[in-house]
């Protein structure tokens, strides 16, 4: 186990021990840089997402129409 040199805010040994004793490995800022593997969406999931996307676009058009008619 190595520690990054001075660049990382002068981490003292006691602080390093504290971090390792209290944080889970996944909680370290460095660990969060690791990518989450991609998951392929299935047919039904894609169908629902596309339906809701179209629904949202349509409804936003309705809101714009209502705002426009309200302004007039």
């Amino acid at each position: 186990m190595t520690r990054e040199p001075k660049a990382q805010n002068s981490v003292g040994l006691s602080e390093e021990e504290l971090v390792l004793a209290t944080l889970e490995p996944d909680q370290l800022a460095e660990a969060k840089k690791q990518h989450v593997p991609r998951r392929r969406l299935k047919g039904a999931e894609l169908g629902v997402l596309w339906f809701l996307r179209i629904y949202l676009l349509f409804m936003i058009a309705v809101v714009i129409y209502q705002a426009w008619s309200g302004a007039h």
Binding site: Q8, D26, E30, L52, R53, Y55, A71
Partner: protein, 456 residues
């Protein structure tokens, strides 16, 4: 998270300033957990509450409190009291999932959507969040401006004061301190309770309406708009992103999930109390047949003054300022978290400015831009406030489907995937919100069809 199990065997560990700050917070949690006394358990609760209360009281924001005020003034005490309680129950179901997701994956919501489903769906989700958050942020400054306007504070001074407070809270560079400052401000949301008491409420009518949901309002366009605004006042996309990111930033782990649930329920209970109190507070305007059309915060306070006195009206105006202020902080931070997660930039309230330049700059830039827009003379502020809550409801179903997929992803969640009953409740919330949106759409573009299905 088992997907990252490989990391645990990685020999090189880099420790950052952010880690050290978080470790200090976790050390206190561990110390409280190691003792069995009830005082220690209370201390543990005190240490672990925060994101849930903040998200719920943050959602009791300027437009939300104005929606509740409009509800009371337009419909009085009746159907909407239990309806608002129901919407908070929905919020608990939804927000609890973000606690589980955050503690298990240790990732923010935006980051998970982007990485798990790819940039195509990730950008859709970001556009929904970014647009909704920015519009909402504008309405928070509208609320602050209007609330302080009651005390004669000029608009530019009002927005400058809000920006100064936001800056002060952020410059602690410490999640814990920021959280406690914001919680202290958020506690003022309960100022609507004494305002309600000053309105001499009819307790019998309140008990009765909570039990039988009556009187049920006539289903017309205005009722549908208020229905949607009240739903949008409780469940919105930014809440998902904020609570998950804040849970991770606070350093909560799987062991803390039960406390995260308590935090969420406590927050919902406090926020529901303030929301119901606001409806009760403005119900006298309905009883006295006073038109509350196009009221802003200051007008509500002024209209209430003859009924609840100057002190009550001042409390109401202060409550609106608080609502706008807390949401201004939480919503701008929700956007900055999402930006940091997607742009792979450091994103934590434990970051010193040097290391979190992009994160802090994003928080402040969004807030300052929203504040500037509010100062544009002649802007139709009332309309913006109404529309924002409606847009929040419309954007919620797609956001919930992503949440649903993530929280049921066994690869990510392992043995803490959502149980069936939670999935059934979530599906119910999605159907309910979509149906409410469709009803709104029909009432706007096909009023004849709306009449056929029972509306007026």
């Amino acid at each position: 998270m088992n997907l990252f199990a490989g990391f645990r065997t990685e020999p090189k560990v880099v420790i950052t300033h952010e880690d050290i700050d978080r470790a200090h917070d976790r050390a206190r949690v561990q110390a409280a957990r190691s003792r069995r006394s009830w005082v220690s358990q209370l201390r543990l609760l005190w240490l672990l509450v925060g994101p849930g209360i903040l998200v719920m009281l943050g959602e009791n924001d300027g437009p939300s409190m104005l929606s509740y005020a409009a509800t009371g003034a337009k419909f009085g005490i009746g159907f909407f009291l239990p309806f608002i309680v129901l919407t908070f129950a929905m919020a608990i179901v939804v927000q609890e999932m973000t606690v589980r997701l955050g503690t298990v994956t240790q990732r923010g919501h935006a980051e998970l959507i982007f990485e798990r489903f790819g940039p195509f769906w990730g950008w859709f989700s970001m556009i929904d969040l970014g647009l909704g958050n920015f519009l909402t942020l504008i309405t928070e400054f509208i609320a602050i401006r209007a609330g302080l306007g009651f005390f004669g504070v000029p608009p530019w001074e009002a927005v400058l004061a809000a920006l100064a407070l936001l800056y002060t809270a952020l410059m602690t560079h410490r999640y814990w301190t920021w959280e406690r400052i914001t919680l202290a401000i958020a506690a003022f949301n309960l100022v609507f309770v004494p305002v309600a008491l000053l309105s001499h409420p009819d307790w019998h009518a309140i008990r009765s309406s909570l039990g039988n949901w009556k009187p049920i309002p006539v289903m017309d366009k205005d009722t549908v708009l208020i229905l949607l605004a009240d739903i949008g006042a409780t469940v919105t996309p930014w809440m998902l992103f904020f609570q998950q990111s804040a849970t991770v930033d606070k350093g909560m782990t799987k062991r803390d999930v039960s406390f995260g649930r308590m935090d969420t329920i406590l927050g919902a209970a406090l926020a529901a109390t303030a929301a119901v109190a606001t409806v009760i507070a403005t119900a006298p305007l309905f009883t006295h047949h006073m038109s509350a059309e196009n009221f802003q915060a200051a007008e509500f306070a002024q209209a209430l003054q003859p009924l609840i006195g100057k002190f009550g009206a001042a409390l109401f105006a202060l409550g609106i300022v608080e609502a706008g202020m807390v949401a201004c902080v939480t919503i701008s931070i929700s956007s900055a978290y999402a930006f940091g997660e997607v742009a792979a930039r450091p994103h934590s309230l434990n970051l010193p400015v040097q290391q979190g330049k992009a994160f802090y700059a994003m928080v402040f830039f969004l807030a300052a831009l929203a504040a500037l827009i509010v100062l544009i003379p002649g802007l139709p502020l009332v309309y913006v406030v109404l529309i924002v809550n409606v847009i929040a409801v419309l954007a919620m179903p797609p956001a919930l489907v992503f949440l649903f997929l993530l929280v049921n992803d066994r690869e990510l969640m392992g043995d803490v995937v959502s149980p069936r009953w939670a999935n059934a409740l979530t599906a119910g919330v999605v159907v309910f919100l979509t149906a409410a949106g469709v009803l709104f759409g029909i009432s706007v573009i096909a009023p004849h069809l709306f009449a056929v299905i029972g509306g007026k």
